[in-house]
Symmetry: C2
Subunit: 426 residues, 2 copies
């Protein structure tokens, strides 16, 4: 089947999955968990082949670590599914129940989005996590994983799909795209795919956003900031900056730019410079910063850069307003933090900074579905419309309005012979 044919099948079956009971969806998840455990050997064999091919093509050790799917990742994946089974059903949650008039009742309740296309990096555990989040939330999914683990992906997909079907989920609950060329076909399937979640490089996400009519959820850049306010605790600020920059530099929630209130700059910057040097971080600063600590000088445009590496931008600002304006202008609306003892400044920063995640006195690296207690995430959205921020189970639902009358026409409400009474019933 082509991707379009698969998408048509999924679209057709999506109401069936949407109407499946939570018992059936959980049964499918427990079948999947069992089948993954029972099929450890073929999974590991396929992964060994992927690893061998990656090694032969000279893949970097850091990347190799992500491709590897061994005992520990199988164990944590199965545990992830088991904890997902324990989460309550995100579907059919009534957020509004209103009597419009005698015998005319309106209800708004959650339902699945429908068909979701997810394109993700070469990480076999991501395939398991994404597919189980989609099934739990009643969404059909088309999965395209990174080709470096295509053998592992195929084995995992077959195990998951067969387990889901044997539990009783509809034939079109899931599909896999195996070839990179199928991505461009997927982008044209706007009639059948309701949401696209591309993960991976900035340029790839932008390419998707620019080449499809399907709504795209995700983020291109992750240019996160920390603003060190005049009242900041210096030790706290230094530790948080080092953690947010170096604990894992290659990820979107790592910090890229530090803004320092100029009243503390002379005292704070030399301390920061020493700590960053010690941590092996290359520093790029505005003119003022370069003059103070002798680092590389960058122009305003330099602050648009996402390093994803042990490199950082530093700038002094006159006050909190300049910090906020810099963040809203140069940032990517992902995660931004203020380090301050002043609660008024914190609240002002929280309201004024236009980002999905706004923090005070903690590392930007907390922006993550697991760390928010969502169980897992399919991605982090920097768009303004919901779902925003880390997207877990709750972010994979939308809602519909259901109304039951007893022969109610609008004419009497238009000619004034009847009127609405609007009584909330929940």
């Amino acid at each position: 089947m082509t991707i379009t044919e698969k998408a048509i099948l999924l679209k057709k079956d999506s109401p069936k999955l949407a109407s499946s009971s939570i018992e059936l969806r959980n049964k499918a998840l427990s079948f999947i968990a069992k089948s993954l455990k029972d099929n450890a050997t073929p999974i590991f064999e396929a992964n060994a082949q992927d690893m061998k091919a990656a090694e032969e093509s000279g893949t970097a050790p850091a990347v190799m670590k992500r491709l590897k799917f061994g005992e520990d990742k199988l164990k944590s994946s199965v545990e992830g599914i088991e904890s997902l089974i324990g989460l309550s059903d995100p579907l059919n949650i009534v957020s509004m129940k209103r009597s419009l008039d005698e015998g005319l009742t309106l209800t708004r309740s959650t339902c699945p989005i429908g068909v979701i296309g997810v394109i993700f990096e070469a990480r076999p555990d991501a395939l398991i996590q994404i597919s189980s989040l989609c099934l739990k939330s009643g969404n059909c999914c088309i999965l395209k994983g990174g080709s470096e683990t295509r053998r592992t992906n195929k084995v995992l997909f077959d195990i998951i799909y067969n387990a889901a079907i044997s539990a009783g989920l509809p034939e079109g609950c899931m599909a896999q795209a195996e070839d990179r060329s199928e991505i461009s076909e997927l982008l044209t399937c706007d009639r059948y795919v309701d949401l696209l979640i591309p993960r991976g490089s900035n340029s790839f996400v932008r390419y998707c956003m620019d080449n499809t009519r399907i709504p795209v959820m995700g983020h291109a850049d992750g240019i996160c900031h920390m603003y060190v306010d005049s009242s900041a605790d210096f030790d706290m600020a230094l530790s948080l900056i080092v953690d947010a920059k170096t604990q894992y530099s290659a990820v979107c929630n790592a910090v890229e730019t530090i803004l320092i209130n100029e009243t503390i700059a002379k005292e704070f910057l030399p301390l920061l410079s020493a700590r960053l040097k010690e941590a092996g971080v290359k520093m790029n600063g505005s003119k003022e910063v370069a003059a103070l600590i002798g680092c590389n000088e960058i122009s305003d445009d330099g602050f648009k850069k996402e390093y994803l590496d042990k490199e950082i931008s530093l700038k002094t600002v006159n006050n909190i307003d300049e910090a906020i304006e810099h963040i809203n202008t140069y940032g990517s609306h992902h995660t931004d933090c203020i380090i301050t003892k002043d609660e008024k400044n914190r609240d002002y920063f929280f309201t004024m900074v236009d980002s999905a995640n706004v923090y005070c006195n903690c590392s930007t690296r907390f922006a993550d579905g697991f760390r928010y207690g969502f169980g897992a995430e399919v991605g982090i959205s920097t768009g303004k419309m919901p779902p925003r921020g880390p997207v877990g189970l709750e972010g994979l639902v939308t809602y519909k309005y259901k109304m039951t009358g007893s022969g109610h026409m609008v004419a009497p409400y238009c000619d004034g012979s009847k009127s609405f009474h609007f009584v909330d019933l929940n």
Copy 2:
């Protein structure tokens, strides 16, 4: 100023409006209501000029009625603003408050979307309604109204803008686009405009969707269905169909296609044919329908047509599943209704039909923000992602995650020396 310059100003001021108190936003609304009443004369004068120009260019009487802005529309507009003032603040509503670990607290609360561009038909009351909904929800807006009422629009905009500013709202809370050529410039402002709401003809909405990177909320087609189930009350079905088709045919929530369960077709169709003939509705039917009542015959493609007029498509279906499949395939996911006495069929239809509004035993014409008790609406969205369906005040907000720690780094949570405890606080 160009539209881009206006959009930049609004984007810069949007955090100020977002952080304004509900008292200030309500004060602005009451200033606006007063100023509209105080300036009735210049408004009516401008409208008289628009009406004269429209009459001279041979505008149809039905359209003229929409352009007209007299005493009654001013009164209902002012009443609309007053009832909006009475609604509770949609901002800063906490939907999640969770302690992740000792001293590390995460909150999710509502905030404005930011800058919203609204392009709407030549209806002066729409300008008042849209701008007051945006201001109440803390959103900056760029308004482009239909050019047939450009004189009225300009006077109304100036009154509203000056009242908002004199109440203390930021300079960049609102802007107006007056020229049609400015629409294409607005479409390029994806860095400054967070959401676009185009209203008007299908082709125009599609044009916007295809020519911008700004998320677009709205609907192109409104192909609404009614399915007459085998257990339907015939009298109720006949009245509802006539109401949904003829009470106001030119609108998106008017019904376009009637699907009839074949077990009742022979008995029901002649009755329906008589009622529709009496109401002056032209009928187009599938082969089976044409054979039964002798109407014009159409092919499958005919069922993709939105008439927006006193014309209707009729089709028999074998069962509820065929009705659902027809609706999901040929419909526009706007509003679809089942007429039945069977609650099981109703619930099945509600779950399986993939539309923003799913109804039972009432007219499709109820799909409207005012009729849902939202006070007013900026539009109806047929997209799957929120906001879906009629979009009022509640649909004009998004949310952000706010987290406060006391020096929390992620490193200890990664090396296992600390772990999350996840305690919901609300």
